[in-house]
């Protein structure tokens, strides 16, 4: 890991964009903030703001609709993705943590891995907390964790750049970078602590996780949350670690194309079996199941961490107002 002074983030971005397609979150002027292509000659200043894009980077690797195979003239034909190399510029710590989580889940998924290998990840420490984020409580931010990105931008009085991997080193070769002063870690740690403090007391959230895993949440709590879930699929769509999918067969000339499409465990039909039996028949059961998948200790054992990275997107996207932060506080009795 090497740290450098970065005189111009825009110059770095232009350098990276010259080699491969580069995406950066940008406002669309109509209320949206989306990952958008930035050309090498794009002169717009790099102004990441505090809020992460509402849509995580998940879809770059695990698209919401993706062809898996075709069936033609009685034969199955695999559809392999052929991704062009690309760079994600300005990934937050939470999203990078989520990518690492997804890397484990999709470790043997050729489609995911092909896209993942095509990507250069440029992370960014958060200079201050976004509204509603609680990454500090879950150990996924606000500073980018070790080894999660090829390059990391560190905000401060002036930008600094961490080069973490061989791919990162190759990507910045040709740039004239001066080493950062030796005490760069202290300034970074200061920013991290400050941003983490802005997220408030983690205790009520941790109490919620503890109550959930200790089985101390009474069924009435889940049944009260149930009607507030409209089954919209918003939380699972924006969640950077959700990974469930369903098949969709579309007719083609004389055959069909099988896609996998994002599914949502909040749908009643998700667990419904052919017999009509449903493992999670009530809305409360489904809400309970969802949060167990995000905060259950069993999943932590399997994936090395909780499924939630504290990005706060579900709180923002949930029409019923029962995103992670709200639910954890309620479970913890706060």
């Amino acid at each position: 890991m090497n740290a450098y002074e970065l005189n111009s983030v825009e110059a770095l971005r232009a350098h990276l964009a010259a080699d491969r397609r580069l995406y950066e979150p940008r406002p669309d002027g109509q209320g949206g903030l989306h990952w958008q292509t930035v050309a090498a000659d794009d002169a717009q200043a790099f102004e990441p703001g505090l809020e992460p894009p509402p849509f995580s980077a998940k879809a770059f690797f695990f698209p919401e609709r993706e062809a898996m195979f075709r069936f033609e003239r009685g034969r199955f034909v695999a559809v392999e993705p052929e991704p062009e190399a690309f760079t994600l510029f300005g990934l937050r710590a939470c999203d990078l943590t989520a990518i690492a989580y997804q890397d484990r889940f999709f470790a043997r998924d050729g489609h995911y891995q092909a896209r993942r290998e095509a990507a250069l990840l440029v992370g960014m420490d958060c200079a201050a907390s976004c509204t509603g984020g609680f990454c500090a409580a879950l150990g996924s931010g606000p500073a980018v964790g070790d080894g999660l990105a090829d390059l990391v931008l560190i905000p401060g009085a002036s930008w600094r750049l961490l080069v973490n991997t061989a791919a990162g080193r190759a990507a910045v070769s040709g740039l004239d970078l001066k080493p950062a002063p030796r005490d760069w870690t202290r300034a970074r740690e200061q920013t991290r602590q400050q941003a983490a403090a802005e997220q408030g007391d983690a205790a009520p959230l941790l109490a919620g996780i503890a109550a959930l895993n200790a089985g101390r949440v009474p069924p009435q709590t889940w049944e009260a949350l149930g009607p507030r879930c409209l089954g919209c699929s918003g939380c699972t769509s924006v969640c950077p670690t959700c990974s469930c999918f369903a098949p969709l067969d579309l007719p083609t000339d004389g055959g069909l194309r099988r896609e996998r499409v994002w599914d949502s465990c909040l749908y009643e039909g998700f667990q419904k079996e052919a017999s009509g039996h449903n493992g999670s028949p009530s809305p409360g059961d489904r809400v309970r199941r969802y949060w167990f998948h995000k905060f259950g200790d069993g999943f932590k054992r399997e994936f090395g961490r909780y499924g939630c990275v504290g990005c706060g997107r579900c709180d923002r996207v949930c029409p019923g107002g029962i995103g992670a932060r709200v639910v954890l506080k309620r479970l913890g009795g706060a």
């Binding site: 669309d28 109509q30 949206g32 989306h34 507030r228 409209l230 919209c232 949502s264």
Partner: protein, 697 residues
């Protein structure tokens, strides 16, 4: 490579912002627009599933001509020549009263402007209508009589400012989910929530008070509330004096009402009536929203007037956080009305019978215009059955599935000499057409939609239309040219919008550039209100003083009896929309509710020995169908309900076309049915459309 194109959701009238995720020529998904004033970065299940609805794999991509009962693909020139010839024949044969256009509440303002111009300037008829007839025509008529204007008086943001929210006959979290969500958030911050509905909707279950009135007793209930309010002196006297005329007639009318009769009629206990009357009249700001549970009755217009009486009597209008707020069903049903796709008005609600308006449009369009009054869509249906109607164009609607008494609609379409349907997919109505023209979907064209709070918002072309599909206005322009009228050949959607703005005073200060800058603008938007009008009637009503009109309870035209012992109502599901032509393409939404259902109270189910999911036969005086029963206390004992999205169990085979006298709104919300059990294990028969139900079952 992914591009995100900001647009507006094409489902309901809430008008949520969404970003269309485009990969190549396909929309693969959507992203929320966190800064959008209406949806604030949230969407419902339908909005999230948009990519499936517009998927080119299941779309109409070529013009189709029916020959010997089967469709064949044809080129645009051949097809448009044929359509023009058929309209010429129809006009020669029956004159302009024998042709008409049914436009589309899901198409853009620009498409709708083109449709009414095509009817009026090319076909020379005011026979132009759309499905507002069967959703909010009573709102337009009722509020025109009491206030002088029929749209939401306040904005969606006013929910955030209310300390009480009263919902009557609207299943808001399911049908207008982002408004429902906003109501839930308002309740979380301390606002009181009152729901008036015969069904236990999600909101009703979460409400502070749920008045579970008997089906079709809205006026009795509201008059009961008004009786209490006036008897207690809780009315807003100052507001009544300053802003309303003739309060005394209403005061006398409700004074004569016996509360115990209200209780007996509605089934709502007196203490609940008193609590709600007190809460609504004492709220600092009470936001009243209503839906089809008010309008879809033969007393629809009077129901709306009763709602208006309540809000006016308590002064809950004209201020932030208040208002009379009809929730509109389609993404652009407001716009289709605004654009004049109604038989009686030009764009901007300019009366066709007013010679000054007629002269203005005659001059602007440089052609003669009809003087004969136009027909409503049901009027056209009836004329066709009577043999007085020759040719009809239907743009993007599926009346065979969504209108009352389906056999009747199908027979009337069969009685036409010529039916042309402009559609994105092969609907049940399109199957009956002589010619089907492939239309571009919302994501494939530029234009604007107007949501239920009167906000005109831009939609943008994100992908090209599949195959040979074209926008409605392009099709109408090419057809007009063949019929000798070149005035519908616009270069782009913006040119249509600008033409409309130039002719409609209520839109006079709007332009695409301004819409882009402001996240859309709410009409009226004119010299006096250059930034639009979030709040209506703050100073005065269009009528000057508002009118309180005494109305009396009218029972549904058909009530349960020995032969048809269940009260029957219709509703919608969160996961489906309209006739299902969009939502049922999503594997996830289709999995949620794959077939139609009959909702029945468990006590009734027990009485009939029914098990959950068992097949049942449901019959009314008009038709019969088979479906599966879902036992739930969502409905009270004695009342059963069906959603209308499912063509294999089409509840509009059962519904009554008894009509509201002033608007011809059919009574879709109430009729009487009989239910019989199918033997356990026997699957319900899925209906096919080409055979009348009576003969088959």
């Amino acid at each position: 490579m992914i591009e995100v194109v900001p647009s507006i959701c094409s489902y309901c009238g809430v008008g949520c912002g969404l970003g269309l995720r485009v990969q190549g020529d396909r929309i693969i998904g959507v992203e929320p627009q966190s800064g959008h004033p209406v949806s604030q970065g949230q969407l419902c299940a339908k909005g999230w599933s948009t990519s499936f609805a517009v998927d080119p794999a299941q779309r109409l991509v070529h013009p189709l001509i029916k020959e010997r009962g089967a469709f064949r693909e044809a080129g645009w020139d051949e097809t448009l020549d044929l359509v023009a010839e058929k309209f010429r024949e129809a006009l020669a044969d029956g004159g302009p009263t024998a042709v008409g256009v049914i436009s589309c509440a899901r198409a853009t303002n620009e498409d709708n402007y083109a449709a009414q111009k095509f009817a009026r300037a090319v076909l020379k008829t005011h026979n132009i209508d759309h499905c507002a007839r069967i959703c909010h025509s009573p709102s337009v008529a009722g509020l025109a009589r009491t206030l002088g204007s029929g749209a939401m008086t306040n904005g969606i943001v006013d929910i955030d400012l209310a300390d009480l929210i009263l919902v009557i006959g609207a299943d808001v979290t399911e049908n207008h989910a982002m408004i429902g969500a906003r109501i839930l958030r308002a309740q979380d911050r301390g606002a009181k929530l009152i729901v008036v509905d015969p069904r236990k909707t999600r909101l009703a279950r979460l409400a502070d008070w749920h008045l579970q009135l008997r089906l079709g007793t809205n006026i009795a209930l509201i008059n009961g509330l008004l009786h209490i309010i006036f008897a207690q002196g809780w009315e807003a006297r100052d507001f009544l004096d300053r802003r309303c005329a003739d309060a005394d007639a209403l005061r006398r009318h409700v004074a004569g009402i016996a509360l115990d009769e209200v209780v007996a009629l509605t089934g709502v206990p007196e203490d609940q009536l008193r609590a709600v009357a007190h809460a609504y009249s004492h709220a600092k700001a009470a936001f009243l929203a209503y839906g089809m549970g008010i309008t879809q009755f033969q007393s629809g217009t009077n129901n709306v007037i009763a709602v208006s009486n309540l809000a006016l009597s308590c002064g809950q209008i004209g201020r932030p956080g208040t208002g009379i707020n009809p929730l509109r069903g389609q993404n652009n049903v407001q716009g289709a009305c605004d654009m004049g796709c109604l038989p009686n008005v030009f764009p901007g609600y300019q009366d066709v019978a007013d010679p000054a308006h007629a002269a203005k449009f005659t001059q602007a369009w440089n052609t003669s215009l009809p003087t004969a009054p136009g027909l409503t869509s049901l009027g056209m249906t009836k004329a066709a059955l009577a043999g007085d109607f020759r040719a009809l164009m239907i743009l993007g609607e599926d009346p065979v599935l969504t209108d009352p008494d389906q056999n009747h609609v199908a027979r009337s379409l069969a009685a036409l000499d010529f039916l042309v349907v402009v559609e994105t997919a092969m609907t049940e109505t399109a199957k009956l057409a002589d010619v089907v023209l492939p239309a571009a979907a919302f994501a494939e064209k530029d234009g604007s939609f107007t949501n239920c709070e009167r906000r005109v918002q831009r939609v943008r072309r994100a992908v090209p239309p599949p195959g040979e599909a074209r926008t409605d206005w392009q099709i109408l322009g090419a057809l007009a040219q063949r019929l000798g009228q070149p005035g519908l050949r616009w270069p782009d959607a913006e040119a249509i919008f600008d033409e409309m703005v130039g002719l409609s005073p209520m839109f006079s200060a709007m332009s695409y550039a301004k819409l882009d800058r402001h996240h859309g603008l709410q009409w009226p938007c004119d010299g006096e209100h250059p930034e639009g009008s979030p709040l209506l009637h703050a100073e005065r009503f269009p009528l000057g003083k508002a009118r309180l009109l005494p109305v009396s309870q009218v029972a549904p035209a058909e009530v349960p009896d020995a032969d048809y012992p269940f009260a029957f109502t219709t509703h919608r599901l969160h996961f489906h929309y309209g006739c299902g032509s969009m939502t049922r393409r999503s594997p996830l939404l289709e999995r949620e509710t794959p077939t139609g259902l009959l909702f029945m109270h468990p006590d009734d189910g027990r009485g009939m020995g029914l098990r959950e999911g068992q097949g049942v036969r449901v019959s009314s005086r008009r038709g019969v169908l088979e479906t599966r029963v879902h036992l739930t206390d969502d409905v009270p004992a004695g009342t059963v309900a069906m959603p209308y999205h499912f063509k294999e169990a089409p509840c509009n085979r059962l519904t009554n076309d008894a009509q509201d006298p002033s608007t011809k709104m059919p009574e879709l919300k109430a009729c009487a049915v009989a239910v019989t059990a199918l033997p356990p294990g026997q699957a319900p028969r899925r209906l096919e459309f080409d055979e009348p139900a009576h003969e088959r079952l």
